[in-house]
């Protein structure tokens, strides 16, 4: 092959000749590379007996608070680990570490989502944390963003989308992909319902309109209202 122009002729020829255009059929997803790593992650989770849950929401919807309360409730019964995704800082990881479970912080340095390769790396980092090599349940707290994380499979078993009461009930209608691709929709901060116009039934109906298979629950991690349904769900997916 010619090193200069890449054609099949021997090296010693002039490069004025035309290289004929060729149409190459590909039919491969742009996410193929991500999805291949996601499949490896899933196989790894299953070999280790881990159930992995990918949590997707806007910034400030209460993902970390829900995790803190979940760890407090289940610690000692279920071995929990957490991979935190944020653009900058390890503040969320510090909050989780304070609860005494293995956690790693993946900072994306500007990227708006976690991808499967970051979870692969995060999983190996987690295994070096005390207790991180023997887990029952892995929470992946995605970068706060209701749009981009929905496109990237991480190899998780369950995808949870969260919307807090102050954000308003129109999020399912406005950000459909996150709701179509999730199994559970959690409405958080319901202790604030008296102060905001958030018709829970309307938000549920909008979400079910997009994805009739979606399981919907409403809770407050601070007051504890509705929290048992979340714990029941976690115990059910671990069976």
């Amino acid at each position: 092959m010619c090193d200069s122009c890449g054609c099949d002729l021997p090296t010693d020829h002039d490069h004025n000749h035309e290289h004929a255009p060729e149409i190459i059929k590909v039919h491969q997803s742009l996410l193929a590379a991500n999805d291949a790593i996601a499949a490896e992650n899933k196989a790894h989770f299953e070999a280790m007996g881990i159930v992995a849950i990918n949590m997707i929401s806007s910034p400030g919807s209460g993902k970390t608070t829900l995790l803190e309360k979940t760890i407090e409730r289940l610690k000692g019964k279920i071995r929990i680990g957490v991979i935190e995704g944020d653009i900058e800082t390890d503040r969320d990881a510090q909050r989780i570490r304070a609860k005494g479970v293995p956690v790693v912080q993946m900072t994306t340095g500007g990227a708006c989502h976690l991808d499967a390769a970051q979870i692969h790396k995060g999983l190996h980092l987690l295994e070096k944390e005390p207790g991180g090599d023997k887990l029952d349940l892995l929470f992946i707290e995605n970068v706060g963003n209701l749009v981009c994380p929905a496109t990237f499979d991480l190899g998780e078993h369950q995808r949870v989308v969260l919307v807090s009461v102050p954000e308003g009930p129109d999020k399912p209608a406005k950000y459909p992909k996150a709701f179509i691709s999730s199994q559970i929709f959690v409405i958080t901060k319901i202790d604030l319902l008296p102060y905001f116009d958030f018709p829970v039934a309307e938000a549920k109906a909008d979400a079910l309109h997009l994805n009739p298979r979606l399981q919907v629950m409403a809770l407050s991690a601070t007051s504890g209202e509705g929290f048992e349904a979340w714990i029941d769900y976690l115990e059910a997916v671990m069976r």
Partner: protein, 114 residues
Amino acid sequence: MHEMSLVQALLAQLATLAAEHNKKRVITVTLDIGPLSGVVIDSFQFGFDILSAENSLTREAKLIIINPPATYQCIRCGHRQSSLVRPDHCPECDETLLIPEGGDGIILNQVEME
């Protein structure tokens, strides 16, 4: 703006294909981007314009994006309909709960190279 990550994945696939087929220049790239893929096509095009200019393989490449419809199946009667926008109800039985099928692909369909 995850479209930038997707454009990077596309350019990596194009580089691999060019190497496999001994090609030096991409002329056209044809993609199928479904209505439920979560991709903003203008943002994808914008990202492609910027990143494709960075190397000689793709500098002159033209992007052709096809937007195939998704299929929606009625949860009650099973009727299927194809649409680019989510239908409000089933035309057969008026049910409003419809399950989307497909339409979430971001597929590199074919490449013309020389």
